[in-house]
Structures are given as C-alpha cells and as structure tokens.
C-alpha cells in the first residue's frame, strides 16, 4: 500500500509543476496589476514606479517565473504584496478555519446524507421516501448562500442563539480550554450546517440509489434466507458496498470544497483560505494567489490518492485486481 502511495505521488509531480506554471502565467498575463490599489491622483508617479520596483514587477516575466520556481522548491513562497506578511504564514492562518469548516461539514454531510439515504432506500416508493427525496432535492438545488443568510438572519440576528460572524470571540484568549472549544463550536455551528446541508443531499442521492441496487443483490437475499438480522444485513453487508460511490464522490468533493467555502466564509466572516484567495485575486496579490494554488493542487492530488486508498479498504477486490 505504501509503495502504491509513493508511486502515485511521484506520478503527480509533473502534473503539479505544469499546473502551477500555468497558474503563474495566467495570473501574470491577466489584466490589472497589484500596483493598481496604490494608484490615486494624490500619489506621485515616482512613488508608483518605486512600488513597481519594490514588488519586482519591473523584471521580465520569465526571470520572475524561474526565481519563483527556484524559491518554491526551497519552501519560500515570498511575501504578500498587500501587507508584506510571508505567504506561508497567511496560508497557515487561513487554512485552519477552512479545514475546520470543510471537514466538519463533510463529516456531518456524509453522516446525515448516508443515514437519510439508507432510510429512503429501505422505505423505497413510500410516502416517507417521497417526502425525504423532495426535501433533499430542495437542499441540493438551493444555493448555500441563501441557506446561510436564512440561518444567519433567524438564529444569529433575530434569536441571538449563535454568533453571526468570525470564528472566535473577541476575548477568546481569555477563555478556559473548555470555553475555547465551546467558542469554536458556537461560531462554527451555523456555517457547518449551511455547508453540510447541500453535501448531505449529494451523499443522500448516491447512497439511496446505490443502497436500492445493493438490496436487490443475491447475497443480500441469501443473507435474508439464512435469517440474519435486518440490522446486520444493512449495516454489515449492504452498506459497505453501497458506500463505494460515496468514496469516489469524496475524492472529487474535497478539492471543490476549498472553493465552496468562499461563499460561506464571506457570509459568516470566517477568516478562511477561500476569502483570503478571493481578496488576493481582486488585489492581484500574486504570491498569495500562487501560494493558494499550490495548496489547491496538493489538495487535489492528496485527496485523489486518499480516495484510491479508501476504495481498496472498502473493497479489497480492487487491490487484488490491480
């Protein structure tokens, strides 16, 4: 398994280099410039030219490219053109809320979607199934920003049950350990619900279909004939196979979640990676955009490898076949 993982990783290196190089040239050749935000009739052209020089934008693009490639292999991602903070630090700080939000949402989305999917599959074509399916399709087709705004307005603004923004309270550092955990939970509850509802709808769709197919299988019929309990048939024999499509979705959904968090981060003012990258893109903060892109490429590669490994774990036949 380890060897398989390493081979996969090495095969990904050319894809990674081509990908980040493309991003480098696309953003450097796109219209606009990081200096634009400093342009104002009040600022003299000498100052503007000095800023261009300070940012290294007076150098030819190929020179900048090779310098950048050389630096990233030394793990030097440069400094933000906006605030002079090392890109590494910016991404490190922004990554924590995004990971918390993404994985909590994925976890709850997966659990909720799968469980409801199983219920709907077992109650196939009944009134309960129709109600559940309609509700889940509603969640699937509703934009998450709208759900977010509804939750925000009801539970934060009107009822004051949860904070409406940020990931921590102002005096978070003065809290005890348990209060800090509570603080995180109360701040993340609404964003996680907002993000996990459409995810659960997605998992629901695949689990239901897959579960219905699996329940028709001969081995399930055989298990029923042997008098094995209903719960054991579902959770031990049927669910394992029914989860296979969910794993492939998991591989696809993890990279998408990085971009999917942007809306949630803006609505709930969470200091995540999506929001940071959107600001960087608008300000043409090249080092931050490139740092974020590198991370996104790594996330895609790693999540695909994890999905492959999970496939093998759930269905050992795949490992044997390969």
């Amino acid at each position: 398994m380890f060897k398989y993982f390493i081979i996969k990783l090495f095969k990904s290196i050319p894809v990674f280099i081509i990908g980040i190089s493309l991003v480098f040239f696309i953003i450097h050749l796109s219209p606009g410039s990081p200096v634009t935000k400093y342009l104002s009739p009040q600022i003299s052209t000498d100052v503007q030219n000095q800023i261009i020089k300070n940012f290294g934008l007076d150098q030819p693009i190929l020179h900048r490219y090779f310098k950048w490639i050389r630096n990233i292999f030394r793990f030097d991602f440069g400094y933000s053109l906006n605030n002079g903070i090392p890109v590494k630090n910016i991404i490190k700080v922004a990554l924590v809320p995004t990971l918390l939000l993404s994985f909590c949402s994925l976890f709850w989305g997966l659990i909720f979607g799968t469980l409801i999917g199983i219920v709907a599959a077992l109650k196939k074509n009944t009134f309960t199934d129709r109600i559940i399916t309609s509700f889940m399709m509603f969640l699937y087709s509703t934009p998450s920003f709208w759900i977010g705004l509804l939750l925000l307005s009801a539970f934060a603004i009107k009822l004051h049950l949860f904070p409406s923004s940020q990931i921590i309270s102002i005096f978070h550092n003065e809290f005890t350990f348990f209060q800090k955990i509570g603080d995180y939970i109360s701040h993340l509850t609404l964003p996680v619900i907002t993000m996990s509802l459409p995810i659960s709808a997605l998992f629901y769709k695949y689990t239901r279909t897959s579960m219905i197919d699996v329940m028709k299988s001969d081995y399930i019929l055989a298990a029923k004939a042997r008098g094995i309990s209903h719960g054991k048939i579902i959770f031990k024999y049927a669910l394992r196979n029914a989860l296979l499509p969910n794993i492939s979705i998991l591989g696809l959904i993890i990279p998408v979640m990085f971009s999917g968090t942007v809306t949630i981060e803006v609505i709930f003012s969470l200091p995540g990676l999506g929001r940071t990258l959107v600001h960087a893109a608008l300000a043409r903060d090249y080092p931050v955009i490139l740092g974020g892109s590198i991370l996104a490429f790594i996330a895609v590669i790693i999540s695909n490898i994890i999905a492959d490994i999970l496939y093998v774990v759930v269905d050992p036949r795949i490992h044997k076949e390969n």
Binding site: G32, P41, F171, S186, R275
Partner: protein, 562 residues
C-alpha cells in the same frame, strides 16, 4: 441496544450545548467600556509608512500622533506632539517646540530625533511613502535640541504648515534597527509602537484588531473608552445586520438603502443605533474621453511621451466636441439622480469645488437641467436622427457609446442605469459596462480605451487639480480624459501657488469656471459619509478627515457603562 445509543447521543448533545453555554455566559465582551467598529477589510499595515487605504490610516491615527492636527476648516491647526510652532521672519522655516511629556508605548521618551528620523523615512524613495508629495517643498529638517525641530522650506507657500505636520511620527529607537528595505516585511507593521491614545493589544488575522487605552498618553484624562475593537466583516449587508443586532457599535459608509432603513428604524424607536451623516470628501463624475485613444497610442509608439502635446491629440468622435459634452451634462437631471440614489447620501455637484473647501460657499454656478437646450446643442453639432431608427447619427455614425464603472459600488451602478435612461431622451444609446475595479483602473484607464467612465475621487486636502487636468500629467494614468488647456494650466498654478486662502478661493473659482466651460468631466454628486453609532456614545464629533479624529473625547454615560 437502542436505548444505549440514544443515551450516548443525548450525552454528546449535552456536552456540546454545555460548551456553547460556557462560552456564552462567561463571555466578558459585554463587561467592558468598549467600542466595536465594523470594517470591511483588514488594514494592509499598521505602520504609517505603508498604510495606504483610508481604513488603515484611521486605525493608525489612533496609535500614532502628528506634530499638529489640521482642523475641520482645513486651514487651521491644533498642536499635538508640538507644544507650539512659530514661522520665521522670512517665512521660510517653521520652528516646532515639542512636548516633553510624551512617551512611546514602550516607555521611551519622545524627542526631536524621532521627528527628524520620520522626515528622513518619508522622503526615502525605497519606502515609497504615499504622502511624499507633501514633503517636496521642504529643504531640510534639523533638531536644535531634544525638544526643538526646525523645518526649512524651499519657497513660501500657504501649505507650509500642512506639509510639515503631515505624517505620523515614528519611533527612532525602534526603527533605526531596521533597514528601509526590510521595513515592508517587518513585524513592526503588525505590532507597532506609537505614542497615541491607543496601543495595539491584539490582531487576529481577518477577524479583529484590538486596541487598548494607552495609560501613559500625554493627555492624562483621555481617552475615555478603554478598548476599541475593529471587527472585520467583509459583507456590507451582514455588517449592517450586526450593527442593528448590537454586535457592532459603529459602522461608517453605510450604503444608501441601508441608511434609509436605519433612519426609519431610529425614528420609530426600534433601534439604539443612531444615524448620523456628514459631508465627506468623495464625489462621483463622468469622465469623457476627449481624444481618439487609438491615435493617442500610435503617437506614443511614434514619439514616446516627451513631445509636444498637440501631436497626441485628435478629437474623440463623440466627446471631442464641447457642445456634445454640454448637451449631455444638461440632459442629466442630477437632482433626480440624487433622489433616486438617496438624497441623504448624495447631493448634486456642479463643478470641482466640493463642500469641504471654503470656496464652495462662494460658488454660485449651477448647470440646470435643460433638455430642449441639450437637443438644440446636439443638432448644432450635427447629430440628428436621419434614418429614423431612434438614435441620432452624424456622417453615418450612430451615437452609441459605452460608459464604464467599477463593480461593487451600488450608487455608481444605479447612476449608470439612470443616466442611460436620461440619455435616451436625447436619442443617444449608452451601453452600461460594469467591470472589476482592478481591470478598470489597471487596464481600461491606462490604455484610454473607453468613451466615458463613471468614477469617483476622494478630494485632497489641498485643492490642486494638477494630477487630473494639468498638461504636466498628460501621460499619467489619472489624466485619462486627454484634457489640454494652457489657460487652465496657468489658473491651476495660480491656485496652487496662492499665498493666502482668500487668493486661493479666488483662483479656485476661476479654475472651476474654466472646467465648467470645457467640461472634461460632468460632475454628478458629492457623497455624505453615512454612519450608524450606538446611542450610548456621547460627545461624538466627526470631521472630513476621519470619523475618529476626536475619538479620544468620546465617552459612554456611566449608567450605560457596559
């Protein structure tokens, strides 16, 4: 089995709720005498040398001080770090006697060395300080002793004092250890030491900036508010909702729609947030492209940017003709425009003189809405609907043009549509184009590849239109109209060089008259800064420079002291 799972679930939910309740009940947020200010984005730096956005400057001004502070009349000054100042007999130098009771946040004593060091940093080209133009007229700055600094000037000007005091004073004892090259990436930028009424207590990236009262502030009884917290909430609507919900105490630049709502809520006693507004420095206008952009670019390729200006100028097919610009200006009903956006938010503007300048009261010029005159002017310029398709034309060319504005600005986007509607009455087809700011300024304006742009400026404290209309800045990005008038140049130079405010007002009126005749811009409206602030704050005063200029005087009534 079932009951055991159920018990587990109940236990987990209880723990989660317990955590939540712990965080809520013992939250000391509401126990302090504090002000929470909602801002849209994080400041780029808290070092005055690199804080370029208005929001950054407003925070920096609470941490640092200047030698003297300009008053809201924009002509007089109140000494701050200087006890007093005196002009020399020849009026070519100013001597500042500094306070000796000022300490930096780390306990070091403020001295003349800090002032001289700050001046040297301001003029250092590597730093690229955005206010360097203020220092152009200063020949040198010397310290006669620890509490006396003399600024020597190259020539007499009415802005000498403003030039000298512009820029917050920096601590020499800390920054002498950092080279100017390394300063941009220094930790000092996020954890600065100043000598202002507040000191930085915490900066949680993209979340909060927390300032604590400086107990060593030289004004012993100030500030009254213990903590000022800047809460970063990027979305306007959410920020406004938090203001109404009491999570934020102060928000500025509220958009017109939300401000109207706040006023309604306040009048019906449904909110504790008090709406306030004052004349800001921002105004919006339409900039016409007076020259043919293709010919301009070809000329630059041919002659560079150093030749006689007439070689670059060929009239724009639509707006090169003054009669067309005047016709369109007459056909835009500014009153209606402001009413539609919000009369509390925007007021009609007739020329470059906005209310913050003393010349505003002396300016009686108003270009009144007159559709018939506009139609007559267009006919005299040769624009008629010859083919009866509902659009006027001339020499086979239909009057169809694009007007650009930047996205994310509601009032400009609204204005664009209203103007489109108003121009239809002249049978002119205007196509609105809303594009991203960076693309608009970095590309469209730079290449001058446009017919008209709806944009806005924040007026400088010094009335000087050189960067946008003077021929010396003809190739600079913000002189994007291609306006060239030697008469205007000389009027503007007189305005800049006037030695008294009275003379300056006279020259400013002349400049305005010339621009109102030539109309490189059609000025639309000046904006008010609409603010919402919790009613518990008293003695709240705003100035055109910053709403927080007098924040050290604000206080919370004892009974409301949270």
């Amino acid at each position: 089995m079932k009951s055991r799972s159920f018990t587990k679930i109940v236990a987990i939910i209880s723990i989660v709720l317990l955590f939540c309740s712990c965080a809520k009940k013992q939250n000391p947020e509401i126990l302090n005498n504090r002000l929470i200010i909602g801002i849209s984005k994080e400041p780029e730096s808290l070092n005055p040398l690199f804080s370029m956005s208005q929001s950054s400057k407003e925070i920096v001004d609470l941490i640092f001080r200047k030698l003297a502070v300009i008053n809201s009349d924009l002509t007089t000054f109140t000494p701050d770090l200087a006890k007093n100042f005196k002009f020399s007999d020849d009026s070519l130098s100013i001597t500042f006697n500094l306070r000796t009771d000022v300490k930096w946040h780390d306990g070091f004593i403020f001295s003349a060395q800090d002032v001289v060091f700050t001046y040297n940093m301001h003029i250092n080209s590597i730093i690229a300080w955005d206010g360097i133009s203020y220092k152009k007229n200063i020949a040198t700055v010397t310290a006669s002793n620890d509490s006396t600094v003399i600024f020597y000037f190259k020539k007499r000007s009415r802005f000498m004092l403003m030039d000298a005091v512009e820029g917050n004073i920096l601590p020499y004892h800390i920054l002498k250890q950092i080279s100017p090259q390394d300063l941009k990436t220094s930790l000092y930028n996020i954890n600065p030491i100043g000598c202002g009424p507040y000191k930085i207590s915490g900066w949680v990236p993209q979340q909060y900036i927390i300032l604590d009262k400086n107990n060593n502030y030289y004004k012993k009884d100030k500030p009254h508010i213990n903590k000022v917290i800047f809460k970063i909430v990027p979305d306007n609507t959410i920020r406004f909702s938090q203001l109404l919900a009491g999570e934020i105490d102060f928000v500025q630049s509220i958009d017109s729609r939300n401000y109207e709502k706040l006023i309604r809520e306040w009048q019906k006693y449904r909110t504790e947030i008090c709406p306030m507004d004052y004349n800001g420095r921002d105004y919006d206008f339409i900039g016409w492209n007076l020259i043919d952009s293709k010919y301009f670019q070809q000329s630059i390729e041919k002659y560079g940017t150093g030749d006689k200006l007439y070689k670059y100028i060929r009239k724009n097919k639509f707006f090169g003709d003054r009669r067309v610009r005047l016709a369109i200006s007459l056909a835009i009903d500014k009153q209606l425009l402001c009413q539609t956006i919000s009369s509390r938010f925007a007021q009609p503007l007739y020329g470059p003189i906005i209310p913050i300048y003393s010349a505003f009261k002396k300016n009686n010029y108003k270009l009144k809405y007159n559709l018939n005159e506009a139609k007559r002017l267009l006919r005299s310029a040769g624009w008629r609907d010859r083919n009866g398709d509902g659009t006027i034309d001339k020499k086979g060319r239909e009057f169809v043009f694009e007007m650009f504005t930047n996205s994310g600005n509601n009032s400009r986007e609204q204005s664009l549509l209203i103007i489109q509607d108003q121009l239809q009455k002249l049978k002119i087809k205007m196509i609105p184009r809303i594009v991203e700011s960076n693309y608009l300024i970095g590309n469209i304006i730079q290449t001058r590849n446009f017919d008209a742009i709806l944009l806005g400026w924040s007026a400088g404290i010094k009335p000087d239109l050189t960067p946008i209309f003077h021929s010396s800045s003809f190739f600079h990005p913000f002189h994007f109209t291609g306006y060239y008038s030697p008469n205007f140049d000389s009027y503007n130079e007189n305005l800049v060089n006037a030695l008294s405010s009275k003379d300056a007002d006279k020259h400013f009126l002349r400049v305005a008259k010339k621009l109102n005749y030539d109309l490189p811009y059609t000025w639309l409206y000046y904006k008010k800064n609409c603010i919402g602030i919790h009613k518990r704050f008293k003695n709240v005063n705003f100035t055109v420079l910053s709403p927080f200029q007098y924040l050290e005087d604000w206080y919370v009534e004892p009974k409301n002291n949270f």
